[in-house]
Every structure is written in C-alpha cells, then in structure tokens.
C-alpha cells in the first residue's frame, strides 16, 4: 500500500469540509472493512482518507423515541446494533439479520453508515431497512436532506450520495403490529455473501394480511421491492396455496433482474426465491411450509 493522508476531524462540519467531490481519491472512512479490501487489492488508491471515527454525539449513537421511532447514528457499529436493547425491542429483525452478517471482527468495526453508503448489493442490512420503511438522513454543504433507504441505492455499488455528502443517520419508523423476517441464503460456504437475501415485513392479524413489504437483495443490482407479490398478498387470508402463489409471482417478477454470478445461475436463484419466499411467509404466518410443489 502506498502512503496517503489520514485525517480525523472532530466534527461533522470539518469532516464535510475535508471531502472533495471532484477527487475520487478522497474518501470518507468509517469502519473501513470494505475500503481496506479495495486498497489492498490496488483497486482503490487513496490520496486522502477522512476518518469519521472521532465523531461523537448523535452521529455515533442510537436512540428509541417514545413513539417507537429508532434513530441509528451512521457511526454506530454493526455489533452495537446487534446487541442494543432498543433494537431488540423495536426491530428485532435487524439484530437477527446481523448475526449472520460477515463475522464478529468485521461487525465490531463496520458501521451502519458505511454499510449503506457502499451501495454493495450483497449487504444484508439495506433490504431489511427497506422492508421496515426506513429513511436516511444525509448532510452536505446544502444542509440536511432525508430520503427512503429504497431511494439511496441507485445501481450496482452506486448511490445518490454526492461526493461532499455524508449519511448521518438511519431512521426506522415505529412498527406496530408488524412482523418481519430476513432470510440470508448462501449457496457456497455458510460464511459467505448471500446468493439472495429476502426481507419481509407483514402487517397481519393471524393469517389475515393487511399489507406486505417484500425486498429482494443480493441477487439483483440493487435491492428490489417485489410489488406484484406484495399486492397479491395484501388484503388476503394466507393459506398454503396463496404463499406458494406468492413465491411463483415473486420469481416471475424478479426474473429479468436476477443476475447470474459465482453464487448461482439466474435460473437457480429464481427457484431459490420461489422456495425461500414461500417458506418465509409460512414462518411469519405460522403456516405449514408445504413444499415439494414441483
């Protein structure tokens, strides 16, 4: 690795001033778990890294409001998120998803903001946050703006963040009467990037579904809402036939977007999506998992 400048500002304002939207060799650095790999492989050669690790206050802490809204500072480590009692109370699906995310050493340093800003489609957290209807708060020279996590990632490793902006926090709205689940589906070693990640959030009484949010991650260029499967389920009382149908509809609507890679062909991932969605719905709705429909 060649020498570079590492600066560690104490305030968000200073950090923003040190970024340079014109120079791609100047980057913000939080946990560094993804960036270091890119630097080691020679893919990224920094001129200046702006470490955010000295930032304190809101940007580095987590809070749960009386209404049940979670505010997760961008510099909160994934391991903190995994263990925080507020998360277990308000959105236990986040803690569950993180338990199989990478490994403890990575989770101890990787941050929520970095995880979102990286735009890596294989991350487990973005589909979960999208399913929960979360938003991000972004700060830049023009002040603060808020947008849904779903609107943050614009493509393969691409986000709508400008080079002089930083994610400050993720905000998860209250989740009354919602049940959520994340399925990380690996096809090689157990400890691997997912071949597909599936985040579900249902508003339901027993098997009567009022609304469903279904997000597919990892198998597509960016996390994808499966709107047809969602509307199939909305307002219906679930049974084995309906959840089987939801799996097929989801696989069909995602078919064109699913990418083949080292973790599987697109034909195989479509089948995985069909099966995993049916099984996830069965778990959330306490239905028998049926199966062997083919």
């Amino acid at each position: 690795m060649m020498p570079f400048d590492l600066v560690e500002p104490g305030t968000l304002r200073e950090a923003l001033a040190l970024l340079d939207p014109e120079d791609s060799a100047v980057r913000a650095f939080a946990g560094g778990t993804a960036l270091m790999l890119m630097m080691k492989s020679g893919f990224f050669r920094p001129k200046r890294l702006v470490s955010l690790n000295a930032l304190a206050g809101d940007v580095a802490s987590l809070s749960l409001s009386p209404t049940g809204e979670l505010r997760i500072g961008a510099m909160v480590r994934l391991a903190e998120l995994e263990r925080a009692p507020e998360i277990r109370r308000a959105a236990p699906v986040i803690a569950a998803a993180l338990r199989r995310h990478s490994n403890p050493r990575v989770r101890n340093v990787a941050t929520v903001g970095g995880n979102l800003a990286h735009g890596d489609p294989h991350m487990d957290l973005p589909p979960v946050l999208i399913a929960l209807g979360a938003e991000v708060e972004i700060e830049g020279p023009a002040g603060r703006r808020r947008l849904p996590v779903d609107g943050l990632v614009s493509g393969y490793y691409e986000t709508v963040l400008r080079g002089d902006e930083l994610i400050v926090a993720a905000i998860v709205p209250p989740q009354p009467r919602r049940r959520a689940l994340y399925v990380k589906c690996t096809t090689r070693a157990a400890d691997d990037w997912p071949a597909l990640g599936l985040a579900l959030s249902l508003e339901a009484d027993g098997a009567a579904i009022r609304a469903a949010t279904i997000v597919l991650g990892a198998a597509t260029e960016r996390p994808m809402r499966l709107a047809q499967a969602e509307s199939l389920l909305a307002g219906r009382t679930a049974d084995a036939a309906l959840i089987g149908e939801a799996g097929r509809v989801a696989a069909a609507e995602a078919a064109a977007a699913i990418i083949a890679d080292a973790r599987g062909s697109s034909a195989y991932k479509r089948r995985l999506l069909e099966v995993e969605l049916r099984r996830a719905l069965a778990r959330l709705l306490d239905l028998p998992a049926a199966g062997e429909t083919r």
Binding site: M1, A189, W193, S265, Y268, R271
Partner: protein, 760 residues
C-alpha cells in the same frame, strides 16, 4: 527408574504454548538488516511469447533497487530451470509464458509498498498463443506447452523421456495384470463411468515465503519449506556449487499440505540475493498462491466387469492428470498414486493407464493425499453405482471384493499390515449399518454413504537422524522433518524419549537447518512418522548403545543404575562431552516394470482410510447438511492418539471443502475467475458436520517405529465419494463432477424429474 511409556501418550504438542502466545517462529516474520523485498510481475495471459519487457519506469521510481528479468538471472545461473521430476520451470519466464500468473520479472526495494507499486509500472508485451486447458484434450492437442521434455534425471523411470518432442504427455504409467479384455468379454455385466475432480488450492494460513542472504562463498536460505534437503541439492545444482555452500533452514510452517514442497520461491530469492548483493525476501500474498501450485484436476474413466456372485473380475482405469504448465511432482503422482486406481479390491484382471499432462493452467503438485482423493472419488462412486445396479448392499458388495491381508494388490505386491477389511467393518459398525435408517420428511431427505480408500507410501525415500546426549543427560533430536502443524516434533520427541527412558517433554527438537540436521527426503506423503520415526528410533538406540559402552568403559556392570550426567563426569572429570547417536533409514523397494507396472515390493507400508456420512438434502434447494462425518483408519499403532485423531478429522474437513465448496474456476482463455477468498470459499465453522468422529482400528505396522505409520492423509480418502453416495441415497441422483454444489444437486434433482433448468 523407568519413566512411564512415552509412545501412546496423548501428549499436548511441545510447541502449543509458543503458538497460542504468538512466540513460535515463522519465516513469515523474519527480517534481516539491509533486506530488500521482491515483488513479482506476473503474466496476465495463459500462453504467449514475450516480445518486450519495459522496466524503465519502474527502475526510475524512487526507492527501487532493481528490476530483474530472466536476462539478469541467466548471468549467474545459465540454465535457470528447476523442478523435482522435470527441469522445466524457469526462475523467471524465458521468452515465453505458459500459465496465468507466471512470474516474468521481480522488482526489488527496501520498502515492500514501493516494490509493489513499481511492479505495476513494468509493462510486458506478449504475442498471445492458443492455450490448452483440459487434461483429456491436452493428450491429443496440437497446442504444445513445452517444445521438448526435460526430465530431471533423478528418477530412473523418467530417463527415457529426455528430449521427447511434440507431446504434452509428461509421463504415462501403465499397469497390466491378467487379461482385462478377455474378462470383459466373458463378464456377466459391465459398468463404465467417468468422474472429474476440479482444481483446488492448498490455502496454508502462512503463504509461501523465502528469504536468501548470499556471500561469494555461500548462500543461506530461510524458507517455509517442507523439503529443506531437496532445496539445498537443487540450489547447489543450479549454482554449480557443492552442497556444503548452501544452507537451508526452516522454522514452524503455518501449514504446508504439499504446497511448500520441492522448490517454490527458493531459487528465485537465491538469484535475486546474488544479483542484488543484499538479502532478499519474497512473501507471497494469499492470492498469489493460486498461481503457484494447485491440486491436479483429474478425469477418470473406470470400467468394471462383475460376475453373477457380485465379484469384480476385471477393472480398467484411464486417468488423466492436469499437471498445468510445469510438471512439479505431477509425474510421481501419476505413477505412485496411479497404481492404486483400481481401489482396495481383489481383482484378477486390472489395466491402468495414468497419464500426466502439461496444460496452460497454473502448475499442479502434491496436495494432502497425492492424487489418491481424486482416484477414490472415482472408484468408490463407481463401486457404489455397481452395488446399486446389482441391488446389493454397498457394505456387502465391498466385503465380497475387498483386498485382504496376504492377497496381491494390482501391482502384485502382497498386502501386509493393511487392515482394509477391519476398517470397513468398524465403519459399518459405527454407522449401525444394519439398522433401519430414518429417511426424513417433507422436502428434506436423509441419506448415508460410505467409501474406502488406500494409499502406498512414496518409495524409495531416505531419512537420516541424529540424537545427541549432552553432558547433563539432556537430549536433542536433529532431524529434517518439518513441523508444519502436524505434530511431528512431538512424535519424534516421544520416540526418542521412549528409547532413552526420558519424559518426552524434556527432549529438544532441532528444526531443519541443513548445516546441522542431516538429510531427509521431505515432509510429504505421510512418510515422516514411518521413515524419520524409524531413523530417530535407531539413532536413539545408537545413543543408548554408546551410553552403555561408556558405562562399560568406566567399569560399571551391565544394568548399573548410574545417572547419565554422572557417566560423563566420571569420563571427562567435569561436565563435558557429547554422545551422538545416528542412523539412516531407507526401506527396501523394487521399482515397477516399465511395461507392466508390476512389482513385488511397491511400498514400505499402506495407509487405509474410510469415511461414513449421514446427511440431509433439501430437495427444493439442493442444499446439503452434514449430520455426521465418521472417519476410520489404519494408522498402525498411534504414537499420540490425540494428535492422530485431529490429523484424521483435519484431513476429513479439508477434503470436505474440496468436495462441497472449493473450486478454481477458469474461463475459456485460462483466466482464473475467482482468485480471492471472497470467491474461492474454504470451509468455516458453520460448514462443519454436527458430529465428527474419528477412530483408528487396532493394528500394528510391524516395520514401523513402535508399530506406527503415517496418518496425515488417510482422513481425506473417502470423503468425496461418501458424500456423493449419501446424496444419491437421499435424493436418487448421482453427481460425477466435483464440487457437489447445491445448484449442481438441485439441477440433477430437477433433471431426474424431467424439469431441467436452463443452462447459462
């Protein structure tokens, strides 16, 4: 007073504390004053001629000491080609590159980061040539990897290949026993199948590393090598120096598994140090190892004739080994493993053709099992398919055909001290094979499978040991066996201690240093416990005899209980003197006949290993969950039962990775598609079976030290076919190519149901 028995103790490893406290020595951590780092410029293409190397920009970079190409290397080593079987591998590419990642130039700098950055500034222009990548196609392809064959001359059976042109075949081993054609013609039933193994990598935690310091008169090479004696001989040959001017030393190795055998970086660092007149260290990254040494991809076509009683009457095996661009030890794999390709069965008529091929892939060499796992994958999958077709129980079918003690193996060598039948029976017993087996419910199906393999020890090879007794009675063992995590230091200490009536903990093992440790062929092929174990035992006996002679010289009656230190004091009048016991061990051997492959003495000992697997297959996703992995082996009498158990389970887990996960994927141009550990997946804790059981059968290797023999590879033999057999048992589909990925299993399930998935 006699110490408790030292062999048979589950003594914790002597170096355990040093390792867990981070104090164990590794060459990886070694730095010398004035040292330069070497970084390699590697070929981005698989086959081509080098038109031009432009190193001006790199040489001009501040901090760069030199950029070295083959032109400079040849100034000091006129013929810089090395290799254990063939002298075919150049230190740096000469005129031509033959595989992706082949080293073309080296950049030297005191700062490793500068060397690395400068290496990227070296531009090389190539004229690309068509490549050959498949081992079966290579046998007849007009694309030639080498213009002529250059056998090393070390092996008598390779000499006739010298100068042979127009072929990619590095070695063809033939075995002919009985009359296979007649048996096939007369057979009740004939079965034929083909099986493929993929290229995989050793992945030692400490990547390859070597550091050389040179003067006009001598060179010292510090290297993470499994074969310091071989390195010394080969470096001396390359330089035209006597052996005594070359010193090769090792420390602990962070794993070897065959990756660090023969010569890897040693010739390169020697040349660089001589040219730079500074010590030079080359440490590969984890990823560079993909381009350095791999395990042979392999295609096996196997055909058997079976009579009405379920007896195999004939077997023909054709084996193609993908050796990559340089032979390394591939020709030995081809022969030494090739002659067991028909499996541990008693078959009258056997024909084996085992062929080593050059291709434009990275070189392949030895990897824990030396070709045996690829062969067992074929013959035990095949054996299971035959049992199924005959509606015979797989254990019963094997029992009818098993190669029993006193019967001749395919080479004609009579089986001695090979508990093949006992291993099979114990495995069946542990799996409760005769009892009904729970089959699972819903989409998750359960299955079980077994497989059984055997291996000959590489022969003939020699080990020499010294056992010294200091004037205070303390003991040191000087031997060339490299402890790369397998526990050899502890085993050798136990052997010496047993002979000398000392606690094993008090014995010091001197690590390989060719200036002080005598010759040893190498630490490979599970040979050290037997070969070096015998040498250490005899050297310790020699020291014991010399102590007895000293006592007699001092006028003591035989059996007088006088402390060793007191003997020295009486002899020298003070604490002084040394007793040196020495021994050299070379087992007898008869080379196979070149035409028939037959010999009555193929190996000094046999290793036997069997695997039983219980698993679940999710028929809707193809995912496999291993519930139980049972290994049973004949290791003779274990010297250290706990280390034996972990060797067996470690080998089984490694082979589990090669079975389910690991695969070097090449595209049509010979580019490696997954040269990182994000995409080349090795097993983690989450991939381990719920139950792992490893056991040895009661056995003795009568020619081994205290009844012991090798153990490092036996756990690998049966894993792949046992898993495939269990998958077949669970969901009724047969996979014939490794690795057994969920998608491959799922596709086979769907194809069997008439619902094939589109190929992509």
């Amino acid at each position: 007073m006699r110490a408790a028995r030292q062999v048979g103790r589950s003594l914790p490893r002597l170096e355990a504390r040093a390792k867990v406290t981070g104090r164990a020595e590794y060459i990886h951590n070694l730095q010398l004053p004035g040292m330069l780092y070497g970084k390699l410029v590697r070929s981005p293409i698989a086959h081509g001629t080098i038109r031009r190397i432009d190193a001006e920009a790199a040489r001009a970079m501040a901090g760069v000491h030199a950029v070295i190409t083959s032109a400079e290397v040849r100034q000091i080593i006129p013929s810089p080609y090395y290799g254990p079987a063939f002298h075919d591998q150049p230190i740096l590419a000469i005129d031509k590159v033959r595989h992706i990642g082949e080293p073309v130039a080296a950049v030297l700098a005191a700062d490793a980061a500068i060397a690395e950055a400068a290496a990227q500034l070296v531009t090389v222009e190539y004229d690309e040539l068509p490549g050959i990548f498949d081992e079966v196609e290579a046998a007849t392809s007009p694309v030639l990897v080498h213009e002529a064959l250059k056998p090393a001359g070390t092996f008598a059976d390779l000499k006739h290949l010298g100068g042979k042109r127009g072929t990619n075949v590095a070695l063809e081993f033939r075995l002919r026993r009985g009359d296979v054609e007649r048996a096939f013609a007369a057979a009740g039933q004939v079965f034929e199948h083909s099986f493929r193994s993929q290229p995989v990598m050793h992945t030692p935690l400490e990547p390859m590393v070597a550091l050389a310091e040179a003067t006009e008169a001598s060179v010292t090479i510090h290297t993470a090598s499994q074969s310091p004696s071989f390195v010394r001989i080969e470096i001396a040959r390359l330089l035209g120096w006597p052996e005594n001017r070359v010193r090769v030393r090792t420390a602990y190795l962070g794993g070897g598994f065959g990756a660090k055998l023969y010569i890897k970086l040693e010739a390169l660092v020697t040349a660089l140090a001589l040219l730079a007149r500074r010590p030079v260290k080359v440490s590969l990254t984890m990823e560079e190892q993909f381009y350095t040494i791999t395990r042979h991809a392999c295609t096996v076509r196997i055909k058997s004739a079976v009579d009405r009683d379920g007896r195999i009457t004939a077997r023909r095996c054709e084996v193609w080994w993908n050796g990559g661009a340089y032979a390394d030890i591939g020709p030995r794999v081809t022969q030494k493993s090739g002659f067991t390709a028909a499996g541990p069965y008693d078959i009258e008529n056997v024909a084996i053709d085992s062929v080593a091929l050059y291709t434009n892939r990275p070189p392949a060499g030895a990897l824990r099992g030396f070709g045996i796992p690829q062969l067992v994958w074929a013959y035990e999958s095949h054996t299971d398919l035959i049992a199924r077709a005959l509606a015979l129980d797989p254990v019963e079918f094997r029992r009818r055909n098993i190669l029993r003690e006193g019967r001749p193996q395919a080479t004609g060598t009579v089986m001695r001290d090979a508990a093949i039948a006992a291993v099979l029976e114990r495995l069946a017993q542990k799996l409760e094979w005769g009892r009904p087996f729970e089959r699972g419910t819903g989409p998750v199906k359960r299955g079980r499978g077994i497989a059984l393999g055997f291996k000959a020890s590489i022969s003939p090879t020699a080990s020499v040991a010294l056992v010294t007794i200091a004037a205070d009675g303390s003991c040191a063992v000087q031997c060339g066996t490299v402890d790369m995590g397998q526990g050899s230091d502890t085993a050798m200490a136990q052997i010496a201690a047993e002979v000398l009536n000392l606690p094993a903990e008090s014995v010091r093992i001197v690590h390989p240093d060719t200036d002080v440790t005598p010759y040893d062929m190498a630490t490979l092929g599970s040979r050290s416990t037997f070969h070096m174990g015998n040498a250490v035992k005899r050297a310790a006996e020699d020291a014991r005899d010399k102590l007895a002679a000293l006592a007699a010289e001092l006028g003591l009656p035989p059996g007088a209980n006088v402390e060793i230190a007191e003997l020295f004091r009486r002899r020298y009048g003070m604490q002084a003197g040394t007793i040196i016991g020495t021994a050299s061990f070379l087992p007898s051997y008869a080379p196979p006949d070149l035409a028939t492959g037959l010999t009555d003495n193929a190996t000094p000992f046999w290793m036997v290993g069997a695997t039983g697997v219980e698993l679940e297959v999710d028929s809707e996703t193809g995912r496999v969950r291993l519930l139980r992995l049972v290994t049973v082996a004949d290791v003779g009498t274990p010297l250290n039962p706990r280390i034996v158990e972990t060797q067996l389970s470690g080998a089984a887990i490694m082979q589990l990775g090669f079975t389910l996960l690991e695969s070097m994927e090449f595209d049509r141009d010979g580019q490696l598609k997954n040269p990182s550990f994000a995409d080349y997946k090795i097993p983690g804790l989450g991939d381990l079976p719920a139950r792992i059981e490893s056991e040895t059968v009661a056995a003795s290797q009568h020619s081994g030290p205290f009844g012991a023999k090798g153990v490092g590879e036996s756990g690998t033999f049966g894993v792949s076919p046992a898993i495939a057999n269990a998958i077949h048992d669970a969901v009724g589909v047969r996979l014939t190519s490794l690795p057994l990925t969920p998608e491959a299993i799922y596709r086979a399930i769907r194809a069997a149901a008439g619902d094939s998935l589109a190929e992509e």
